[in-house]
Amino acid sequence: MEMHPWLPNLGDLREMLKEIGVKDVEELFSDIPKEIVLKRELNVGYGRPLSEYEIARRLEELSEMNAKLLYPPFLGGGVCPHYVPYAVKMIISRSEFYTAYTPYQPEANQGLLQALFEYQSYMAELLQMEVVNSSLYDWGGALAEAILMVNRINGKKKVIVPTNANPNHLKVAETWVKGKGIELVKVKYNEEGKIDVEDLEKKLTDDIGAVYLQTPNFFGVFETEVEGVVELARKKGALTIMGVNPLALALIKPPGEYNVDIAIGDAQELGIPLSMGGPSLGVFATRWDAKLVRQMPGRIVGLTKDSFGKEGFTLILQTREQFARREKATSNITTNEALMAIAVAVYLSLLGRNGLKELAEEVYLRSHYATKLVESRGIGKRKFLGDFFEEVTLTFPVEYQRIHEKLLKAGLHGGLGIDDYSAVFCFTEVHPKKAIDLLVEKVEEVVKNVEAS
């Protein structure tokens, strides 16, 4: 190879080798046993370096293989489609942000640190929790880290999780905590789709380390007994972990007001594209209590002063981290989701106080409108009667798979099937009334067709 835009020294190779004092490149690898030195080119890519134009063509070709939908899918289940404004995209495309790394040299990364501090502060305000880290990978990972943190604090090996929490979050948590022998004790939900407090009381024994609760839960339903659950847990000496959709917090009481110990969630809905589920942004927060904060996973940015007395920012409480504590660290995480945290800070800044509320209301209203339409046409009904946000579980008189297939043919992607007749649908500001009406119309066609035959 003679020349490549990303390998600028190919033409200087000979002189550089001379400077090093070797006759060829192979000499630099003479310490690698001969039998494992690769004697061929790697079989990757498409035969030769592609130009940008050719790469663009290949990407278009692949995009053509994805289905063209009339509207974003009516899917939630952990991430929901939303519109990401250009202002957000432009800020996170700033080279000084997106090509930086963890601000190990705070003097040269003040802006990055301030942006991350602002993210933490936005989340603290929404959650009413004093301490927020600067990101974990995603909600599932945040739940796993919360459970591991509980185990470090009280040494208990069982944590209660309700079966109306997102099953993918639970699968992730189960995988991560298995190594430590921690068991997830499942608690049922009631006919309203909410946590079954009686079942919880039964299972809340002294060896339970924490109780987890998600609101709105996997079915889209608000948990209304949070206060009672927190009290029950506290009485039994268990910590509390609350999972929340931060967008919903514009309307519902934040975890801090329930005095929960740990709050987690995913901030994808606040300015991060879907990207098939990642990168996303795991939110992690605790109360102002050293017992909790010292055991927190992940990086935290804090406010301080510089040598001239000027306000500045730096990474704080780093003695929790893997590079300092190795096997005694509070987590193994280092590369996190920082840029996504900046996206969320910019998005919330654009929305502002009133915009956030308006967006949450719009989303709430659209999900309620769709539900009302389905129910009033007699083509389906809510599976659970509790009030809901953004997502709703609908049950139909025909198999959902038939509806799903029909919708796909019409260029619409329906909700997530959870049993033969029910699916969880998500409605946001990217689903205009026209889209919702069309969706309901298509569902109606299937239902009526089946009923007629």
């Binding site: 490149v25 046993p33 370096p49 997106y98 930086a100 948990e223 000027k310 893997q322 915009g355 659209r366």
Partner: protein, 503 residues
């Protein structure tokens, strides 16, 4: 002379104007007529979140100013050892159009294009590492390690054995022992010998039926190739232990040698290092976790599979489960995909060579500078080199920390410092293949000047940096229980005397 912006930019929460708005939200008035918001009293939020109220321009100007007080690869060379801060080709951003609007729970028939990209990447990363199968469940390297050690744990459990110990090299990154501990292993460190390599004698002594595996990176964090790797592999496999490859240092041998051929069974790759995914100010990155032989059946699910009917999802028989909620950081896998397309087989195969040339060229420029010492000399480094500034500290009191700050003043980011732990006053430098020879010369000159100045005027070096947005930061104020301020909420509550010390 290099100068960084010094804006006195307030916190966004300190903009107190009211009533402005940075974006509009689509609004359906007919829907508003048909239904209303009716949250149960018991759970309704009473006190609204206090968010600022700003125009679009105010928001943009605020964050642009913050960006100007930051430093990335596009701003200047970032020789952060172990982090592989190579150039992030701009074409990578094009790849987002393929995946950004796809929902992870979509019917797989509707995302065949994205799955084809993931499938090709699985195949390519397997080819590059010499493994059989790869999964992109892991959003970063450390998550890959966790997946790997959980796989190792399950592998032994399936064979009906309890193995409690995970071996880790003493030069290993902190994530290795932290990941092993998260999976419930007891960490046993293997000391390096006087050549900076795994001490084979110690290894042989330590390896027994209680050892689950060995986590190793090769080249190691000193930039040295573990030349006894085939012997190491034999020793570990003699007790049916699993050899784990921390792929953070793959850049030094990419195209030259493959972990699979060295005897490694499970490998993670940091796509944000070796495959040029931008580091995003700390993340998001993306990882791959790969394995061969029997171990491949333990990989986290799902894995993309190809058949005559198209792409579908495969669940390995003994899978440990899920590490990410969905498919991992797909957006960044797509970025790495364009990087591999752009380099082609010839380019990818040249990366290890060119990064190694850059490192050794830099060493030749820095060799013999007063104050710097090259521990474990006599061997060619691969992706990176670790110098010790201990002589400098002994002679002048100027530390590796001071040298790092002085480099900032000259427009270079600092190397990784104080790592690996076995080198005192470590300066860990990784130039990567994307910096030009002239930039390497300039960096070497800057370092030489700093060291010379440290001998003539040590105070001057220990009072750096002066050209950055702020001076050195007060770590005591930052961390003291009475002043620690992790959020604006804490700042406000403290001003109102509503919270005490963090004790």
């Amino acid at each position: 002379m290099w100068r960084q912006a010094k804006w006195d930019e307030p916190l966004i929460f300190e903009y107190k104007e009211k009533g402005r708005r940075g974006m509009l939200i689509p609004r359906e008035d007919e829907i508003r007529k048909a239904v209303s918001v009716n949250i149960p009293d018991k759970i309704r939020r009473e006190r609204e979140a206090e968010l600022p109220e700003l125009s679009e321009l105010e928001v943009i100007r605020h964050y642009i100013r913050l960006s100007q007080m930051s430093f990335g690869v596009d701003t200047g060379m970032m020789p952060l050892g172990s982090c592989t801060m190579k150039y992030n080709p701009k074409v990578e951003e094009l790849s987002q159009s393929l995946v950004e609007n796809l929902h992870p729970l979509q019917d797989i028939s509707t995302v065949q294009g994205a799955l084809e990209m993931l499938y090709e990447m699985q195949e390519w990363i397997a080819e590059i590492t010499g493994m059989d199968k790869c999964s992109f469940q892991v959003p970063a390297g450390s998550a890959g390690e966790l997946a790997g050690v959980l796989m190792i744990k399950k592998y032994h459990e399936e064979k009906g054995r309890r193995r409690d110990e995970m071996l880790v090299a003493d030069t290993a990154h902190g994530t290795n022992p932290a990941s092993a501990a998260m999976a419930g292993f007891k960490v046993v460190y293997i000391k390096s010998n006087n050549r900076g390599l795994v001490d084979l004698d110690i290894l042989k002594e330590v390896v027994n039926e209680n050892v689950a595996g060995f986590m190793l990176t090769n080249p190691n964090t000193l930039g040295l190739f573990e030349e006894e790797i085939l012997e190491i592999s034999k020793v570990i496999h003699s007790v049916d232990g699993v050899l784990y490859y921390d792929g953070a240092n793959l850049n030094g041998i990419l195209g030259v040698a493959r972990p699979g051929d060295m005897g490694f069974d499970v490998v993670h790759v940091n796509l944000h290092k070796t495959f040029a995914v931008p580091h995003g100010g700390g993340g998001p990155g993306a990882g791959a976790i790969c394995a061969k032989g029997e171990m491949a059946e333990y990989l986290p699910y799902p894995i993309v599979e190809k058949s005559s009917k198209g792409y579908s999802l495969y669940y390995p028989k003994e899978s440990i489960g899920k590490i990410s909620t969905f498919f991992g950081n797909v957006g960044n896998v797509a970025r790495a995909y364009t990087y591999i397309l752009g380099l082609g087989p010839q380019g990818v195969s040249a990366v290890g060579k060119m990064s190694t040339v850059a490192t050794n060229y830099l060493i030749s420029k820095l060799r013999g500078i007063r104050g710097l010492e090259l521990p474990f000399p006599g061997k060619y480094r691969k992706h990176e080199v670790v110098f010790s500034a201990k002589p400098l500290m002994n002679d002048t009191g100027v530390t590796a920390f001071d040298v790092a700050k002085a480099l900032l003043d000259r427009g270079f980011y600092a190397p990784t410092i104080y790592f690996p732990p076995i080198v005192d006053e470590a300066l860990m430098i990784e130039p990567t293949e994307t910096e030009t020879r002239e930039t390497l010369d300039k960096f070497a000159n800057a370092l030489k000047e700093i060291l010379a100045e440290a001998y003539s005027d040590p105070k001057k070096i220990s009072s750096t940096p002066l050209n950055t947005s702020v001076g050195r930061l007060d770590q005591v104020t930052a961390n003291h229980p009475t002043t620690v301020t992790p959020t604006y909420l804490v700042k406000k509550l403290r001003e109102e005397n509503k919270i005490g010390a963090l004790r």
